[in-house]
Point group: C2
Chain length 160, copies 2
DNA sequence: AGAAACTGCTTGTAAACTGCAAGCGGAATG
DNA sequence: CATTCCGCTTGCAGTTTACAAGCAGTTTCT
């Protein structure tokens, strides 16, 4: 792993700076898609199969994702986020807020980003706790930010 | 401009998701490098000339950067950040903090990111005000976050 | 038991992007 | 009026991305 420089922003770009890594992490994080099939079948942007396979491999190598066997389906692999990936929640929040403000984001898909930005650091922390439950086996927290975001999306999608 | 989806995170990735865009913006933002020559000559990562030229062109097309003539040197172009780019400060803060925590960032180069993260939202806001002064002609604010970050870097670089 | 569908990929091919080195035209400098 | 500065462009090789097709092992259906 030869790095271009020791600057933290550069290192982050070297790990995340391509057209798909953050999108795949978004789908695992906010969509709770956990297997290859779920990630491919629900991909809003239509990720190609070889790119998805390659990205999952790279994310594992970089330490952002781990693979676990599914007890009910022997051929299915369940992908879990690591603490390193869960720590990207604040980055996702800021990126989403920026996209909503400056890019032509659709109202329905903006709903989650807006809710998350308005929820502030407390909501981000609660979301990270929920992700630690879902991916790392931590105890289940009382609040489900995932459910709140889904509700925000549904409410936005209903309005014509 | 055909976009893959209207998701704000996807749109942000489509604009910023490559190996150089955020690095160039970082250099303009934190290094206050304003011309092609400064950006190329001071590039920590050694950006190639054609990539730098292409990235500046794309950043202008995306509305993140504008070009202005230098009154003293007719052949020099001064690149200014737009409000859209200045609004990326919180993203940079989070990305830097993440890089410091999870990637092998060098102590000297981490100093700015750490100072900025510890400064909280107030410091980010003051930095954005300073950037609006430097790039958009807004009145000069009392606080210079750029000077504080430089001091933090110098202090970290002195320690052996 | 056999057929069909599911699951997680791999392979082939073409196009686009990246990275390196060299060069170039106009402007300022001495 | 030669030299250096400045902002690029060009050529080329290698890598990455994108699209479409296919494939082996597993489970489900009939």
């Amino acid at each position: 792993m030869d790095r271009r420089s020791g600057c933290p922003i550069n290192l982050s770009v070297e790990v995340l700076g391509d057209r798909w890594s953050l999108v795949v992490l978004r789908d695992i994080m906010f969509g709770n898609f956990r297997s290859y099939g779920e990630l491919h079948g629900n991909s809003l942007e239509g990720i190609a199969t070889n790119i998805l396979a390659n990205r999952l491999k790279r994310l594992m190598e970089e330490g952002l994702v781990t693979a676990a066997a599914d007890p009910t389906h022997k051929q299915r692999t369940i992908y879990n986020l690591t603490e390193m990936a869960i720590a990207l929640v604040p980055v996702m929040v800021q990126l989403g807020a920026w996209g909503v403000q400056f890019l032509p984001a659709s109202p329905e898909l903006s709903a989650r980003a807006i809710a998350l930005a308005e929820g502030g650091p407390q909501m981000a922390d609660d979301f990270m706790a929920e992700l630690r439950h879902l991916h790392l086996g931590d105890p289940k927290p009382g609040r489900s930010v995932l459910a709140e975001l889904e509700a925000a999306y549904q409410a936005a999608a209903q309005k014509p």
